[in-house]
Symmetry: C2
Subunit: 340 residues, 2 copies
DNA sequence: CTGAAAGCGCTTACAG
DNA sequence: CTGAAAGCGCTTACAG
């Protein structure tokens, strides 16, 4: 159907023009030894001249497994976009390509994964996946998998499945400790529902409250890691007889939604209610937002994920690894002592 | 090097188990006619049973040009992430796959494009590219190209190059008209530098100021479409003897940076200075930000881009098309009458 | 230092 | 309704 375009040059074209075999061209382009310097120069010049570009599809097919890392991400999450910016250079440094595919409403995780796999990605990095444990086990039996920003329980030495994440529990513990230090007792938590890290954060919240003798004050409001869910949770809180003095949101975006509704409703933050997020995404530091939050190290998460993916790809399974990174409390303007 | 993993099933495996030829399996999997219903059922069942998945790399190689759309995006731009969420369903509807690759600092547009092309994308959609005109001409001679969110001058019928964009000039004109109506004369523009749409926006700003007899008041401060550039521009303005009464930023992110610095410096927005953005990205409507801005229709831009890409891919060149969408003024809380 | 040949997994005329 | 065969562009032992 396509109008025949100027056919793109192949290795065979280069070989013919240079009067050498395709094999040799392949070697030269690959930087392998086995050609005289003179031949090398000539072949390179010709390749350049006729505009030769390697064909990844053919290369992948011929090589079997590939030097390509497949990355699944919900690109609307600022924090994941940030991770990706760090994944590219880390992969390139190790000589790997990156293929991106987005999981979005209407594009489920299995769909994304199959797409990546069908393009022969040699290993997968999944950013904040929501699938069930079984999904990862099954997947890792087919290809090495690194799960970022989520804790998994089924890690073992049989299967190339690893995780890289921030210590969510510790981060939440820091947050609660900080709020309690300020004098807060009525601290509510808006959970992230099925979103990455939510379980740990919620559990850590309950445990921390208990540790402070505030078990009776624990209130978890179901939510998700986006603005709409935060807004909804804020409405729920506003409808209740009394407001808490502090709210610990599932993540920054959720906190933004809460801030939205509270602000519109005339609830002073932090005068009346203190608010905290989680992630420390780009917007948190804008002084109009100025959100107190827990910082995650995107660069480190990205680098470790890439390194693990490559190492499993090269060395095969038996690597059960759970990389846990330190969170960091970032105090900004949405938190203060409780009123009066 | 890779530890031999359970080899993934191929078409040949399916054919063998089913006792038919690979050709027939290919036909059946493709939904083409040419197999009895009974055979079809059996083959499908076997494929499913042994977990057969098509190999895109092999398919692409065999088919020549592909049913894959390559999308280049700076995923850190919220607005582009939004575009992508609409590109997937639009492509799927037409039976096309999408491959994503990110242009980022350290990963230039030519790099991204070559990567996409080497994976045999049949057409390219470039979101807000910054490259020079020549780059697109040369590229379009190799593959159909749709440029989104940027105006190009060199469109002709010879080469499959098309653009889809919002009428930037009109949007800026709306913004200036609105500010002038409010009573503003001292309106500064923070330009987007080399970022997409910047030239048109800047020129439209100058023209609109002139149309209102305010040519003498025109001030353009160089910037870019991100928070840092906005912050820098705000500092420049603060250092000048007098502040304008209104600022028209190159886009929303730039406006956020300006808001940041102004707020920290105690400049009341909109009491002392009115501020406008461009894009209407997700954060603009947060009441802490509450940014008056110009709305772009992400869904429509995405759909039109996909349709154009596919139509050029199928029908070949000769389609010089420039789709121009309507902008929309969104009045929120960062604009008001000038002080006193 | 160099080349002939097989193969990666699929598609697609062509021929029954 | 079904199959044998060539080919997509590359890599990679193997053999000089």
């Amino acid at each position: 159907m396509t109008t025949p375009r100027r056919r793109r040059p192949t290795m065979a074209d280069v070989a013919e023009r240079a009067g050498v075999s395709r094999t040799l061209v392949s070697f030269i382009l690959d930087g392998k030894p086995g050609a005289s310097d003179e031949t090398r120069q000539r072949v390179l010049a010709i390749a350049d001249e006729i505009g030769y570009r390697p064909d990844s599809a053919a290369r992948l097919l011929a090589q079997g497994r590939s030097r390509t890392l497949g990355v699944m991400s919900d690109i609307r999450q600022l924090f994941e976009a940030e991770l990706i910016t760090h994944i590219y250079p880390a992969a390139e440094k190790l000589g790997y390509e990156v293929l991106l595919s987005a999981n979005l409403p209407g594009r489920t995780e299995p769909t994304v994964v199959e797409s990546l796999l069908s393009h022969r990605c040699g290993a997968l990095i999944l950013l904040g996946p929501k699938a069930g444990q079984d999904f990862f086990d099954e997947l890792a039996s087919r290809v090495p998998v690194v799960v970022a920003c989520r804790r998994l329980t089924g890690l073992n030495d049989e299967v190339p499945l690893a995780t890289v994440r921030t210590d969510d529990a510790k981060g939440i513990r820091q947050a609660v400790d900080y709020l309690v230090d300020l004098g807060h007792h009525h601290i509510h938590h808006v959970s992230g529902g099925t979103d990455p890290g939510s379980d740990d954060r919620q559990e850590a919240y309950c445990r921390a409250m208990r540790a402070h003798g505030l078990a009776g004050e624990s209130v978890v409001i179901p939510g998700a890691h986006n603005e709409e869910a935060g807004a909804e949770a804020a409405r729920t809180m506003l409808a209740a007889p009394t407001l808490p003095t502090a709210v610990l949101a599932g993540n920054d975006r959720c906190a933004l939604g809460i801030l939205d509704v509270f602000t519109r409703a005339g609830v002073d933050v932090p005068g009346r209610v203190s608010l905290m997020g989680f992630d420390d995404s780009r917007l948190s530091e804008n002084p109009r937002i100025d959100l107190t939050t827990i910082h995650q190290d995107a660069g480190e998460i990205a680098r470790r994920s890439v390194e693990l993916a490559v190492s499993m790809l090269v060395e095969g399974p038996s690597r059960a690894t759970d990389v846990v990174l330190e969170p960091q409390l970032i105090v900004r303007g949405t938190t203060a002592e409780p009123p009066r």
